[in-house]
Symmetry: C2
Subunit: 138 residues, 2 copies
């Protein structure tokens, strides 16, 4: 991911590198607040604005995907390939990636039936994850 950022007028500050590292290594689809807390563990003076700024850059460069929900508070996804479906637990708010399905023919079918030129899609399933189901029955 770092390689993808070289070339433009892009400085590799410690905070930036740490934010990159967190987003690239997390499978948790973290919120800004979560990234902020984790950056702070290593660089305690980091500002929340810095986290937002860097995530914005990564968004623009296509390195992370922003996941908006009606409830507010975006989540960020650095796991490739894009796009892929998400499993959202409505109890613990965790977001997981299921095994990737082949959705290309679905996209093509809808494109041809609607006349849209489709450039992206998003597929989210909402439900209760296995762990929260256990907690329910316990």
């Amino acid at each position: 991911m770092i390689e993808a950022l070289r070339g433009q007028n892009f400085r590799l500050t410690p905070q930036r590198l740490e934010i990159l590292r967190i987003l690239a290594s997390s499978r948790e689809h973290p919120s800004v607040e979560q990234v902020f807390e984790e950056v702070r563990r290593r660089f305690p003076t980091t500002s929340l604005a810095t986290v937002y700024r860097n995530i914005l850059k990564l968004k623009e460069l296509g390195q992370v995907l922003e996941l908006g929900f009606a409830e507010g508070g975006n989540r960020y996804d650095g796991n490739r390939p894009f796009p892929h479906p998400h499993m959202v637990c409505i109890r613990c708010r965790k977001i997981m990636d299921p095994d990737v399905e082949n959705l290309e023919n679905l996209t093509e079918r809808i494109a041809s039936s609607t006349g849209f030129k489709i450039v992206n899609h998003r597929l989210d399933f909402f439900g209760i994850c296995p762990r929260c189901q256990e907690a329910d029955s316990a």
Copy 2:
């Protein structure tokens, strides 16, 4: 839709009835602001808070679906059946409903492979609608 609301302590004020009418009849997946402006045409003193309050009620009653996007500003969907896919035009921001596909087996496949108990899903395609494609080539 009105029938679905009777029974509970629900008063049928003029503003409320107008908001219901707008959401039930619109195919445009309007924003709060758009509903607000339309209500105002008939009831010019209506407050924005009233629009939010009534949409919240309808959400809770399952009569409208709230569509959140990363860009902010929710859109509202009163078109059944729920859930159904959406075609989002990234140029004009219109949201359309394509012909409904059969997605049940997709849901079942993902449920069994992840262990999730799925209660809902959301499938959005982002692209350029036919009208905006024409505008491009013109």
